[in-house]
Symmetry: C2
Subunit: 410 residues, 2 copies
């Protein structure tokens, strides 16, 4: 028997299950693996011996991979678990490899973001060190688009599409009244501004939102921001501002406001940048101000997934199966962009040690000099990634996704 | 010449432009009006003489009404303007009717919510009093579903669909980790709980979200809420709670938390119920807690509009044209539900004086005895309203809506 284990880790995206579907479909073509097991809740599923036989799922339902590919979040569940170095404690590694042996595992695929690639690095290095022939490969996913050495990451395109569509609808909502108003939209991305930049795709023409865009890659100055706003409000009624949750001043301090309950057991915490800017703008201008936090739907809105994103996510999963069959280990699958007109890419690989624990920020050439918008180069980069709409099946008026009841721990 | 004016007022919905499209399409069939004018920004468009010739728009683009029907928010813009009684100041009314005369207006249609129906009441009463033959009719729209004497209101079904789809995706997002977590989702509806109730449609089976639902129609008790949560957390990892922004205690006090900036120019304000509950739950349980405010997309997410909602909104617009041609004035169009299996309705009318300024709350038989869920009766009421998906055209990966540049005041 030649089997493999797949697991998912990190935060959810609309595309991570498409990579899993890509693995299953490629193996259906090639027949390289006899059985494909899904470990539940990432690497912890191996510790706890919690597995799903995905080949059996495919046998039971011929449409399984099609449904899987459009189901958002994580069919196999996730975990937040950092492996300690094997030099400190080898017992965890011994446990993992004893499971591999017992289950006749040939390859281990880990679909995830930065932290997950650290796990791929450590397990593949341990395999090499101990002379194990088991292949360990990483498949990227993160809405943050901040993994090194890949043109972009699966999950980003769908999140970008959701954000751009939301901003477009927020603009239509905002401009119905003739009163001066400022709407501040806070978007995810603590260290990299890719998702906030995607808000620029919402523009229908030069009058439409967003009118100002601030990314964490450039220091945020409150006086400069108020001045930017002031100039716009002189000429138009409604201004929409897109800000990354990660904007910070030149000394690296995040913008935030305090929140506390008024009762005696009052608990307090910090709000995000959007709320802090809302309060600042209210103080500075006599206009209607609202802040909107684009909520977790930006990472799990399957109903607004990008077809291009799902297609590429599946292609990376398929590529991982091919690479494993050719004996590759210790690499992450990457997307190389070959050109924009027409948009063409190829699936490739990169050594995992050069990827794990790095962060890919937005290049400064993608941000305008004033630091309040993105450039044409950024738009050209983003546009192909949100193209196309996958066929989502609706039942009783709602998107129909695969059940994830198997994730409930009894 | 026999012309009419249409205007829109109140908050945006995904269906209000479908009612406008219904007026245009019915008139194309019947030819009753020569020209249909849109007043920009509600009744204030009449004061300011800001009109759009909608018949000309149709002549210019044969697909105009199709595009209009799926464009969210308000193509004609809105206003918040309450007419003073003509007994206090008749000059505003004289101005309106002088415009009507000048433009050879036969009928005036106002599409809106509660406040807009007050305007319909006053203008129709003034017409009657002064012996004017001008017909004034109201066409309902509000995501809040709280207008009297209609089974439901256009805009509600689309908002309900968006909320249910969001809750389903939030559930998939939430349950990927095996840590005890509470997710509180705050939904619009200050006085009526219809929208919050719609979250119940998200359930795929008895394990899925939302697990608790609180509407403003029943007093909210913090100890009872914490007890409800406690019981659930004993048996499952992830709990999702749907609460109306309008929940209040038995003395009528809204739940809220204070928010303030920490800087010296600190401004402060109140947060919503979701944030207040988040802080309370953090205090009471050692679990991961998050609150999510379903943002303004719940009222303007054209990309998740209900086909049933758009169809009914258009039918009410069409019905208004028929009623005007038959000489009716001082009424609002309503939807009568004839049955649920199959779902059948008829468009009808109701005297405006019995509608304006009333609020239709959720009947107590639609809420369970414990006050933490809805009943099967509510689900049967809601289900047909979110049925079907309209064909949305996408361009460059995003929903393509009609431009609203004409709303920009020069």
């Amino acid at each position: 028997m030649r089997n493999c284990i797949v697991a998912q880790s990190g935060g959810p995206t609309a595309a991570i299950n498409a990579s899993l579907a890509g693995i299953l479909e490629e193996n259906e073509r090639s027949g390289y693996f006899d059985r494909i097991y899904g470990a539940l809740n990432g690497i912890t599923g191996i510790f706890d011996r919690r597995f799903l036989d995905l080949t059996a799922k495919m046998d039971d339902d011929p449409a399984f991979t099609k449904k899987l590919a459009i189901t958002p979040a994580m069919y196999l569940g996730s975990c937040r678990y950092k492996l300690t170095a094997d030099t400190e404690d080898a017992s965890v590694y011994e446990d993992i490899f004893s499971v591999f042996e017992e289950m006749e595992i040939d390859s281990f695929f880990y679909i995830g973001g930065n932290d997950s690639m650290d796990t791929v690095l450590k397990i593949s290095a341990y395999a090499k060190k101990t002379g194990s022939s088991i292949k360990v490969l990483g498949i990227p996913k993160t809405i943050d688009n901040d993994l090194m050495h890949t043109d972009h990451t699966p999950g980003f395109g769908s999140a970008a599409k959701y954000i751009a569509a939301s901003l477009r609808e927020v603009w239509h909502d905002t401009m119905i009244y003739h009163v001066k108003s400022v709407t501040i939209v806070e978007i995810m991305g603590r260290d990299a501004g890719w998702l906030t930049a995607a808000s620029a795709l919402a523009r229908e023409d030069e009058t439409t939102a967003p009118h100002l865009i601030y990314l964490p890659e450039k220091p945020f100055s409150v006086p400069k921001f108020l001045n930017d706003l002031h100039q716009l409000l002189d000429n138009q009624d409604n201004v929409v501002v897109a800000v990354s949750e990660g904007i910070r001043d030149k000394d690296g301090n995040y913008l935030s406001a305090g929140v506390s309950t008024s009762d005696t057991f009052g608990h307090s915490q910090l709000s995000g940048a959007g709320k802090a800017l809302e309060l600042l703008v209210k103080e500075a201008f006599r206009v209607k101000v609202r802040s909107i936090e684009v909520n977790i739907l930006q990472r799990c809105a399957g109903h607004m997934a990008s077809k291009m994103d799902l297609t590429e996510a599946a292609a990376l999963g398929a590529h991982a199966v091919k690479c494993a069959s050719e004996g590759l280990s210790g690499h992450m699958m990457i997307i190389d962009r070959l050109g924009n007109e027409p948009y063409t890419t190829q699936m490739a690989t990169y050594p995992i040690e050069k990827i794990a624990n790095g962060v890919r920020s937005v290049p400064l050439s993608f941000i305008n000099e004033e630091g309040n918008d993105v450039t044409g180069e950024m738009l050209a980069y983003l546009r192909p990634l949100i193209e196309g709409e996958p066929k989502i099946s609706y039942k009783d008026g709602l998107p129909e996704y695969l059940s994830v009841r198997h994730l409930i721990k009894r």
